[in-house]
């Protein structure tokens, strides 16, 4: 399958993550939780955005992503995205990150599933980058990083044929396969059904380059049309709309990839599992290649030294009471259906220990290739964590 999925995966998943965090940080400017400093000022929010965007769009990180490689497991993606989120002063506990990840992935799945043609994947990515640029517009240095990355993406993907982009899309669809987490915003807007599946309309504009279905044309040996006949298309399609811009700046025209979340309705980001879905709790032994990727990506992320006296900002992303009710009513013992995303600021040492613990889990698991023990790589990774 495609070897070029990673940059688009991170830009789009990272973009969705930033949309959600931005919404939450704007919505929370009262101290209803128990944190010492409950108030997120405008500056705090901008700082968080700058920190995360700056890390995600750093040259080192992006260059790693742009190397041709396979798309790895959700576990690896989640680990790297957690680390990205932790590039700021915010901290997310594992359960919160799980919820946030589900939300990000379902949003991106929706965009990939519904885009009219594979090339629109690029426009979706550019929509994310345009909004990210807006988040950090007051910090020229970070804007430059986003622009540089955007140029590299244009360079890497503009020459791909529709067939190659469809292969990329098919690779992403395998990545999202069987995920049917219900998202309140999607259910409310009826783009998702109660069973978790997205609604696919047999109406609306056809993709750029496609004709409205309904016509059969017959030609003779000389290429002249001798007959034309119509047939019922079973839908109500209209001609394609104008093509969006694939340049650094421009009107993308399509709306997929734009920020759907509004400040006034935080309950939109509630998610719940469809009852029939079983959580995959079994550990997924990471192949050596995945561990290598993880090490490279983690290593390429710079972190700033945070002053020790800067105490924690803890924030609940969701309404705790409502979520606990919902969780109590439907959750089974093993599954964590809590909607609360707790963002905590832990001391840096704690953060490093937490990450080391996660990395340690990978190192301990059996690898599929028996000839080389995984301990070496795991130790290297742990050492890298301690240095950060």
């Amino acid at each position: 399958m495609s070897m070029r999925t990673l940059p688009l995966v991170f830009i789009n998943l990272g973009g969705e993550m930033l949309y959600i965090l931005d919404q939450r940080l704007r919505a929370h400017n009262t101290s209803e939780d128990n944190s010492e400093k409950g108030v997120w000022s405008e500056n705090d929010r901008k700082r968080v955005m700058n920190d995360i965007v700056g890390t995600m769009f750093s040259k080192a990180f992006m260059d790693e992503l742009l190397k041709p490689q396979q798309l790895y497991s959700h576990r690896t993606m989640k680990t790297v995205l957690t680390r990205l989120a932790h590039a700021s002063i915010m901290r997310l506990n594992p359960a919160s990150m799980d919820r946030l990840y589900e939300l990000m992935v379902m949003a991106f799945k929706y965009q990939v599933f519904l885009c009219l043609r594979p090339k629109d994947l690029l426009l979706i990515s550019y929509n994310h980058m345009d909004t990210i640029r807006e988040f950090v517009k007051d910090t020229p240095m970070v804007v430059n990083q986003v622009d540089e990355t955007h140029r590299k993406i244009i360079e890497a993907y503009s020459s791909l044929s529709e067939g190659e982009l469809q292969l990329l899309r098919q690779t992403l669809l395998i990545f999202f396969q069987d995920m049917h987490v219900r998202v309140s915003l999607f259910l409310k807007n009826q783009i998702q059904n109660p069973n978790g599946r997205f609604a696919l309309m047999t109406s609306g504009p056809v993709p750029h380059g496609t004709d409205v279905p309904g016509l059969i044309r017959i030609f003779d040996c000389r290429g002249r049309e001798v007959r034309r006949r119509e047939f019922p298309s079973g839908g109500s399609y209209t001609s394609s709309i104008r093509e969006g811009s694939f340049e650094l700046h421009g009107n993308r025209v399509i709306r997929l990839g734009m920020n759907m979340y509004t400040v006034d309705h935080p309950e939109e980001t509630h998610t719940s599992r469809a009852p029939s879905v079983k959580t995959d709790g079994s550990p997924n032994p990471l192949a050596k290649e995945e561990l290598n990727l993880l090490a490279r990506l983690m290593g390429s992320m710079k972190t700033e030294n945070k002053p020790k006296d800067e105490s924690g900002f803890r924030i609940n992303l969701f309404n705790t009471d409502e979520e606990e009710e919902e969780a109590g009513a439907s959750a089974s013992a093993e599954e964590s259906l809590y909607g609360v995303i707790n963002i905590q600021a832990m001391q840096d040492e704690q953060a490093a220990l937490e990450l080391a613990r996660i990395a340690g889990q990978f190192a301990e698991e059996k690898e599929e290739k028996p000839e080389k023990p995984s301990n070496n790589k795991g130790e290297e990774l742990l050492a890298m964590m301690d240095d950060l």
């Binding site: 044929s161 067939g163 669809l173 997205f198 993709p207 059969i216 044309r217």
Partner: protein
């Protein structure tokens, strides 16, 4: 014209891959095999005609005797040869051939994969059994591997490599009318929409090249010397194989076509796409007078589903089966 029958449940959901359904009808045993690809495995279900027995089997793409992680499968297809039937599975790592019930792997061919990954993906895709005893498989580089298959046993050999396409092979098909008179008996398609028409033999002969318009041809069939091709634009085109003359053009679907199939005894044509629609057409082809007629007969909508496989279950087109992305069932339709 058709109505929905009871679906067959499969162990996993279908992946979004072109031509993701293969059907083999075994009349003497009164059962039909179906295969559907899910990521790195092939779900096989054998359904008895009385509807009472369903046997499931799962095949993974694995090199024999090597404990590496499995690779993603691109396609699984039954190949019907005069002396035997085989199940061919193509993946990122190579090509596997099994006995048609999936019980034994009889052949493994590894693809050349570079040491460090290149931006160009490596995989095999496009499978066809060709007169008289060949199995052809396409590769992402555009090459076509021709395997010589003996009537029994595992002494399958790579007989030839055809290098004509420059883009990844998407699909291929052999002449399915059963007529020995057709000169061309293989058509191959690629990501640029280019079609090559071949005559099989000890050395395959290229008879014609029909250029694409930079739009991927994802599914192709050959019947009575006519190529039926489905494209990413949702169009279906009918070409005379040997001359390349365009006989018909249908604005068939609003999204990328994933499968076309023909019922050779009746001339029924089946097309399915990401737009959630399956359409049934009828073709009348008279090679002597060079005339082609296409008529639309029927639509089926599989709600909220991007269809990835659609095949007739028999040579008359009395029944057809459909698979969709994220769907864990094979949906069946039967003529009313």
């Amino acid at each position: 014209m058709y109505h929905k029958e009871k679906s067959i449940q499969i162990k996993n959901s279908a992946s979004a891959l072109y031509n993701n359904l293969s059907v083999l009808r075994i009349a003497p045993r009164r059962l039909t095999h179906f295969t559907v690809v899910h990521a790195n495995m092939v779900n096989m279900v054998s359904a008895s005609w009385d509807g009472l027995n369903y046997t499931h089997r799962q095949l993974q793409s694995k090199e024999p005797n090597v404990a590496t992680s499995t690779s993603l499968i691109m396609q699984a297809a039954f190949c019907v040869l005069p002396s035997r039937d085989l199940l061919v599975v193509t993946s990122q790592k190579g090509i596997q051939m099994y006995e048609s019930d999936g019980s034994i792997m009889v052949y493994w061919h590894a693809l050349d994969t570079p040491e460090t990954p290149t931006a160009q993906a490596v995989f095999a895709r496009g499978i066809a059994a060709v007169y008289e005893n060949y199995i052809c498989v396409g590769v992402s580089s555009g090459a076509i591997l021709v395997f010589d298959v003996p009537s029994k046993g595992s002494n399958i050999t790579l007989s030839e490599v055809l290098e004509e396409h420059k883009e990844s092979i998407t699909d291929m098909a052999s002449e399915c009318s059963g007529s020995q008179e057709c000169i061309a008996n293989l058509v191959t398609a690629d990501d640029g929409g280019n079609l090559c028409v071949w005559k099989s033999g000890e050395e395959f002969q290229l008879l014609n090249k029909i250029p694409g318009f930079d739009m991927s041809c994802s599914s192709v069939k050959l019947w009575k010397g006519t190529v039926v091709a489905g494209y990413g634009t949702g169009q279906i085109r009918l070409y005379e194989a040997v001359t390349g003359i365009l006989h018909a053009e249908i604005n068939a679907h609003a999204r990328w076509i994933y499968s076309v199939d023909i019922a050779p005894f009746s001339g029924l044509l089946l097309s399915a796409a990401e737009d959630s629609l399956v359409r049934v057409w009828h073709m009348t082809i008279t090679p002597e007078t060079n005339s082609v007629e296409v008529v639309h007969l029927h639509n089926e909508c599989v709600t909220d589903t991007q269809i990835c496989g659609a095949k007739f279950c028999d040579g008359d087109g009395y029944a057809f089966a459909v698979t969709g992305y994220d769907l864990s069932e094979i949906i069946r339709y039967i003529q009313s």
